[in-house]
């Protein structure tokens, strides 16, 4: 979760595993959109001596659709390469790394960024420095200084960072995957145990983030800065992916590897939990290789989600109205595949047209919330999920409540959600220190020396 190790094939390929994507109007720079896409999930901070990095043989992409057809209108491509100062040591660093230029840092990583639009590619930057992983007080004593050095402002106006961060996604993995348990309500479970407090399993694990802040005017179809929430021009469809070359050859005798063929997509991410929870196991790998514009193939999985059928079984007598609901879930189709059309939520829409596509849909005319609610739109905060996604949005609770029927009345006024639906909660309330209030918004990674603390 949200898409960490969510499919059989990609679970074997962490460097390319697209775990989450976030997109929001930057709260401190509201004329920009910040997009974050995460890879290499569930990193134990002490995982050396070959600490985590992006795949040098992976193409990472962020896609933006501004015309409502779910095809990429703009793509940002990221490619990485590593450099060894001294191949004759096993050490990642031979002394404290006090700057990105430190000669003590042995294995460094760099990246290039290319913008593709109208069939034309433009290299925006190359040999941009990544920060090292956060190792400990002797190796990376002033980590935030190193991270700040890795924030790059491009001549075209974008600000970009690529490197290790603390995973912003919070979830009680241990409970959820133990037959859909929610610790605060587990006395109601089919296999009951005394209630407990939710556990944030991803609190102290790291991830690799690509963070880019982009002027809104460079993303809209007419170069405007939208102010009308109800205008179609205000809505951007956003997703990310990773790709590998089709063929890789290992030539052990010559200590070389070579590749051939086109880039082939192997992971993608739009809405949190889509592939994880909606797509069945036998189709997850195929889904990862497809484009959002083809997601009509998964319409029935959204209209009749497996989890909606499981909840009344796992929590007997708790969801009788949900159990009786047999109609196709038009509410989930709107949230996940088309966006919410006008007239569903007062003063809001993020509809991108009739094409069924799993994308984050961000209405950039909605200003950042002054008092954000992690429950987003269902919590009355139109600047949060499913209007894009902020790092602190509680997407697990939002989507569990939606699947349990909370959002059915948006399209069917006769349906009454079960009383328990609004009480569904994974029981996790991350501290404000879990996030940053300014770029790159995702917190400093935990270091290996101090984590886990004794």
């Amino acid at each position: 979760m949200s898409s960490h190790r969510e499919a059989p094939e990609i679970s074997m390929d962490p460097a390319a595993d697209n775990a989450d994507v976030y997109a929001f109007v930057s709260p401190d720079k509201p004329d920009t959109v910040t997009i974050i896409t995460n890879f290499v999930p569930l990193q134990a901070p002490a995982g050396g001596p070959n600490f985590f990095e992006f795949g040098n043989d992976v193409l990472y992409s962020i896609f933006i659709n501004n015309s409502g057809d779910a095809h990429p209108d703009i793509e940002y491509q990221f490619q990485f390469h590593s450099s060894l100062r001294n191949p004759n040591t096993f050490l990642y660093n031979t002394g404290p790394i006090d700057s990105l230029k430190s000669t003590n840092w042995n294995k460094r990583q760099f990246f290039s960024i290319t913008r593709v639009q109208d069939g034309k590619s433009k290299l925006l930057g190359s040999d941009l420095k990544c920060p090292p992983c956060n190792i400990g007080p002797r190796s990376t004593p002033n980590y935030e200084t190193l991270a700040a050095e890795a924030v790059h402002t491009l001549p075209t106006g974008e600000v970009v960072f690529a490197g290790q961060r603390n995973d912003p996604f919070f979830v009680d993995l241990g409970a959820i995957f133990d037959l859909g348990d929610l610790r605060p309500f587990q006395h109601l479970h089919l296999i009951p145990t005394p209630d407990g407090t939710g556990v944030d399993n991803t609190k102290a694990v790291n991830i690799h983030s690509i963070v880019i802040q982009i002027p809104i005017k460079s993303l809209t179809t007419d170069g405007s800065m939208p102010t009308d929430v109800m205008s179609a021009k205000s809505v951007l469809g956003i997703w990310s992916s990773s790709s590998r070359r089709k063929v890789k050859m290992i030539d052990a005798a010559n200590d070389s590897k070579s590749e051939s063929g086109p880039w082939t997509q192997i992971s993608r991410l739009g809405n949190p939990l889509f592939n994880e929870v909606i797509v069945p196991l036998g189709k997850k790998d195929v889904w990862n290789g497809q484009q959002p514009s083809g997601d009509a193939a998964y319409l029935s999985n959204v209209e009749h989600p497996e989890l909606a059928g499981l909840l009344p079984v796992l929590y007997p007598n708790v969801f009788p109205n949900l159990a009786a609901l047999k109609t196709a879930r038009a509410d989930l189709v709107a949230i996940l595949l088309t966006g919410l059309p006008s007239g569903v939520v007062g003063g809001f829409q993020n509809y991108t047209g009739k094409t069924y596509a799993d994308m984050l849909r961000l209405n950039v005319a909605v200003p950042p919330a002054k008092s954000p609610n992690p429950l987003g739109v269902v919590g009355g905060d139109l600047a949060g999920y499913p209007n894009g996604r902020r790092v602190f949005d509680d997407v697990v609770t939002i989507e569990l409540r939606a699947i349990a029927g909370l959002t059915v009345p948006l399209v069917d006024k006769t349906f009454k959600p079960d009383a328990a639906t609004s009480a569904i909660d994974q029981g996790i309330a991350p501290a404000a220190s879990r996030y940053l209030t300014a770029f790159p918004y995702v917190r400093t990674p935990y270091d290996g020396y101090d984590t886990p603390s004794s």
Binding site: D251, S258, P262
Partner: protein, 97 residues
């Protein structure tokens, strides 16, 4: 899908014509089957391997991956030669590169 000659196969793949190689890379060039017809390349060897994948032996369909491209052709003679080479691999036992 298009029909084409072996000459155009190698031309499409960016390799000098007349060489009966299944795939070629600087490192692999030295491992050409003894007795295979070799010619002097008209241009620099590609830095990446060229890979031929038999899609359908009966129809003679072979997919060529070269650089960032992938295209499927029909060439029954080429497919036949590739299958013959593969058969020789099997008969000569499992090797380690």
């Amino acid at each position: 899908m298009s029909t084409f000659s072996r000459r155009s196969f190698f031309k499409a793949a960016g390799v000098a014509t007349g060489t009966a190689m299944i795939s070629i890379s600087p490192a692999a060039a030295a491992a050409i089957e003894p007795g295979a017809l070799e010619t002097t390349p008209s241009g620099p060897l590609p830095q990446e391997p060229i890979v031929a994948v038999i899609r359908n032996a009966e129809l003679g369909e072979v997919t060529v991956l070269s650089g960032r491209t992938e295209k499927t052709y029909t060439d029954k003679l080429l497919v036949k030669r590739l299958l013959k080479a593969a058969s020789k691999n099997h008969h000569s036992g499992q090797g380690v590169a």
